[in-house]
Symmetry: D3
Subunit: 286 residues, 6 copies
């Protein structure tokens, strides 16, 4: 049940991230332990093995890491991003010079464990709303520098992406509304400013505000920290004229009942800012 239509991460984005991570780990002197103890000609095979169940994300970055350290190392995936794993499953193998494998190990694992943790957390929320039409969305609450990868991991876990940044969609919040002079006026100003290719979303905190907002036909309305009852009524009020998005207090415990209010989407910061890493190890095989 791997998600269809996973996006394609731009190659240069991955290479840049891998370079930064390797420079961080190698510094100027490199892997002084391997250089001192591993003969240049020694080879090894090693397996990425899941130590707990979850969803895999980040294999193209793992592959890029080994290619950057030593292009002669062979990377052989056993699974693909978006696949579920159980503890003990082999996710991929690497084969080649031992120095390169050990030098790349930690950077590769840091990417894989972090992104798979996000995919796993996302999949847990997605599973809980499977009986509804609601889609799980991410937010901009991501780790600085890794947003594109984290949003990709959300997709691997079956979630959908919200806007990527401040640049690709309008999201009018309370502070904007206060300064702009009301929710309707704020939407009008935004519509006039942005091109026709950009969606306009507005955050509302009450049914009254929602009603005013709907007079300007926003593309999306975010129902922020509303009660379940209000949310249900909001869905009725919108009546399909805009996409509805529930936000606030989204946990594994609450997500199902929120979804059952009929909202189209539910956004969660937790899946990116607080998902624990998936435990994966690299076992050198004899």
């Amino acid at each position: 049940m791997r998600p269809d239509n996973l996006p394609v991460l731009p190659l240069s984005l991955m290479l840049e991230a891998v370079k930064v991570a390797l420079q961080e780990d190698l510094g100027r002197a490199g892997d002084i332990t391997s250089a001192a103890t591993i003969p240049a000609e020694a080879t090894a095979t090693a397996a990425f093995v899941a130590r707990m169940p979850g969803v895999v994300a980040g294999l193209p970055i793992v592959e890029s890491t080994f290619r950057e350290v030593d292009p002669s190392i062979l990377f052989s995936p056993e699974l693909r991003d978006g696949n579920r794993v159980s503890a003990g499953d082999v996710i991929a193998r690497v084969d080649g010079f031992a120095r390169g494998i050990l030098t790349a190990e930690r950077v590769a694992l840091n990417f894989l464990c972090h992104l798979s943790g996000i995919a796993t957390a996302t999949a847990a929320l997605v599973a809980r709303v499977a009986h509804t039409k609601a889609r799980i969305l991410d937010t901009r609450k991501t780790t600085p520098g890794l947003r594109a990868f984290e949003k990709y991991a959300v997709r691997c876990g079956g979630g959908s992406n919200h806007r990527f940044g401040l640049y690709d969609a309008v999201l009018i919040k309370d502070n904007h509304i206060a300064v702009a002079g009301g929710v309707a006026e704020a939407i009008r100003k935004a519509r006039a400013a942005v091109g026709t290719a950009v969606k306009v979303e507005v955050e509302v905190t009450s049914l009254a505000e929602l009603a005013e907002a709907m007079t300007e036909a926003p593309d999306i309305v975010m129902l922020d920290n509303m009660s379940l009852d209000d949310m249900r009524e909001a869905v009725g009020l919108v009546a399909g004229r805009a996409v509805t998005e529930a936000s606030g207090n989204v946990t594994l415990a609450t997500v199902a009942v929120i979804a059952e209010t009929g909202v189209d989407t539910i956004s969660s910061g937790w899946i990116t800012h607080s998902a624990p890493a998936l435990d994966v190890g690299l076992d050198v095989e004899v």
Copy 2:
């Protein structure tokens, strides 16, 4: 009880990280919502407010973020990195043009919440071993691109830093030992290769291996996944001739009993790869 002697993050390191994070969030078109709805001349004051108790880390990066977006915004910290906060505490205030404050908000919060989450998790472990001499260490299991900041956050939480990368200390693991021909030989090779300014650590998994390692006088021995009994015996065997480091199965539940074995240090990957973000918000003040 703020830790003394917090390190000084290189300025260019912070600026580089802030630039990357802002480019990620602003893209080429910038903050299209604020540009459309907030007049250029509108000003605001806003407060960073903790929504849960924890330890603060990352304020210099928060300041750099606002300075990068708009140098005229005034940043006034109420607290310093390493300080404890309760829910509702004001951590810092910003004052200046509203557009710049709203544009920088999410990037600043993403740094602050992530790093404060690590400091908070570290402080929790540190508190549990306060009755012993054990110091809590971080690992290389960090978020790619953010290691220097995360290791700084560990210090804010009262922890100590392990090596920063593959380049600044030798850490001989089982794979190195296997290829090098035994633990003693691996230590000898490392000593011969690295300069006198570099420490040599070796990972051992049994008392027998520890005994062999000690014949070559390593600076640090890592006791990997040992039983509490073995750990206690290992500490006696080492007898102060090397720094002892416990590793494996370190949780809030187990850290105290591990510390009570008498080890000098305990290293934890969890504090960097899985610490939940500290919830902090930016409240615009009237």
Copy 3:
């Protein structure tokens, strides 16, 4: 009649572009003519003067250029981006050390003349459709490396922006349709893949294709190289359920009649890839 709501160019975007342009012009040896002939302490005042009528765009980049070369040079704009100029009008003045002014002159003018040329060309199209509701849109046919600035210049000329890149909106063209198995299927696939914050546009070349597309409710339909009659009929067929965009054969001569078909928007590559530079000079004042 300066356009409202001009976007705010991210500061780091301007600084990066200015740095690249200065490195290109200064190389490693710098401005060897000024260093040899102008005493370090000589000062000057100079005026940016329009040599032909047009619309100004790029003043913040001009200011950034002087600041980068010599932060002590004072930049005093007489006009703002989006303002119209006649031949002889002073656009801005600079005052400070003569060496810095002469060193920065060409880079500053290259930005200003290029971007003002785009704003001027855009304004010419906008003026011709002022009696209709049609908005003039740019395209992705921009100068490599300068897209954000060129799209900003389009806004200065009164135009609107189409998508900024392949990343912020879906635009399904004939090639996508051919491979995806029909226009309706292509729209369905796109909707399923992208998040709710992204608009979906489809390019159609016939009324039949338009009719099929409309069954999947795209956000925007591009009427590509249609006859005026077909375009008029298409507008009726869409009936406000999607934004309509005319594309192809858009010139100063044709734009008015295209607009009169009732389309919402008209996109033009010419305004970015072929607009002649606006002639502006820097006159040193006695």
Copy 4:
């Protein structure tokens, strides 16, 4: 009649420009349309086809663009830079995965159309002075960030390059002369300052100034905005002791008569700052 001795663009210069252009177009999310609608395994062949007559320039950058997006795409040029094309001519073909071809299409075309436009404009001037010895020169009035490529395109069109920047030749203008204390003194100062490998050019606006300049034996004299009669007299006055360069009011209409005054070179800003793009399309072949 392709120009001999075309320069070799440094590889890293092309790769850097291509990377910047692709990042601009792909952002963090990549080509979301192709990812959603084109299966990963679909392949295609496509041809770059001229839509109007002109001169080709930029094929190595086109090739670099496809290589950067997907190194497995095969690029097969039918022509070389500097070749003339008629409407309908195939310039090059690409063959490989459809996603990569469509993702790279616009960036490749933006380079090719822009640079070919410059080569075409240059060739038009060159053709008009073919009956004289005059060479057509470019200027520093180039698009920021693209100077090296634009100067290369000028060469493809049969033109010659003026200095690349402020760093590789001295060009003394009126402002320098005013501050330095006269044209002769300015030349002396420049000669004393720069190494023997650097040429010294001086801009003169009258025959009197020319006469004074010639007393210091400049390598090149620029005759700025002189009348045709003065230019003719200037050429006689110089008598081969320096290279003569005509500047100002150079258009397709005037270039021939300027050349007929006997000047060695004629410099034109128009060929780089205002040349319309050459219309080239990428046609997917069945």
Copy 5:
């Protein structure tokens, strides 16, 4: 007698340095002489030949230089870094397109001659102390931007590396001691601040200061500008409880007697900041 266990320079470090050096030499216009005079299809073989005796260092960077300029050029080393050469020895050969070979020649030689000069100077010091146990150390007195390569060259010459920067070891000097309130207090403060993976060195200038320092068990003591007698006494006082390092007045003439005092290490700035280049040429073979 090539040194064992030479470190492995991170690949990206070499590529970055090579790119910078090539950009510096090629600028925007590239190798205009080769482009004008060498046909694109001409090939050549050339040999790197030592013109004086010494020790080779930098071959991987030489190889990277040719690969960056033209990946089709074959690089065939005859020797390895750390090998001794006599005048006339062939160090390596390159074979491929003549343009690429000539374009890369100077950058490759600049790296090779500079680093081999450092290796040669180091080897001269090492040879003079071969009858003692003393190791020759480098310092931070390196050429900006090239430290990692220069420290690698020191290793090629048989020397050892001191710390790589301010970040990987503590070195307490007189200025730190003065501010911190005494040498013992300074060591205590450092120990408390840095992690257990970091060594602490202290610089002492008298036997009294050494005695105080030893009460805090530093890892290394630097005996700065001490007389030979004091140095001998210092070695006795330390008695193996710390590594001893002699510093100051280290020349080819003095290094042997310094080593004979019994110090463990001798550090020299001369080997990096003042070693003359090794003369190596590239001879094109018929």
Copy 6:
């Protein structure tokens, strides 16, 4: 006797070099010694003091280094680049927070000592030819990454600059001549290819070759490794129609007699690739 007309190093060039050097020295953890032992509020004054006689070069880079580390540190030069110093002379002072001063110290000194060493070596050659008209030139035999600064230092020592790279002047050597089919043909090809702003130099090794070269009127002729007699005859043969440059075997011992042959210029690689550093220290003042 400070040289007039010293060039102006582009600011961004200096900043980039300083950033690279600081990153190299500070790594990710920064100056751990100063952070641990120096209180944040401690201040100091320190003086750059020459320890041997020489010529100063690099003060603007020293200033940039302190500004980059801590903009509040005051830098007060006592001398200017190009000035002579005796042992004990104060070159400049810095005043401000002690941490920043100590953190920046080594990077600032590494630049200053290296560049002043080059200026000093250059000045020594210049002094020996002062009784002739010969100018001392540098070469492309520079330290990778530092060429612009080293060529600036040559100017500070009273020398002149040869071409900056492969891009700004043609220099035809034996290998080019061999492939191009003779020296005259090579000059013709070069003239045809490069623009009128570029000088053409040719290397000749015999009087016969010189005679052939002169038929094509090169701008500069390099007399490579010629005997003094041949050089003298060559100068007569050229008779002022080209600049003459002596190359090969240029040492402090030989430079005067070479100059006395009447050549215009003498180029030396030694002044950049092998000049010993000038010893300068930073003394903290009480």
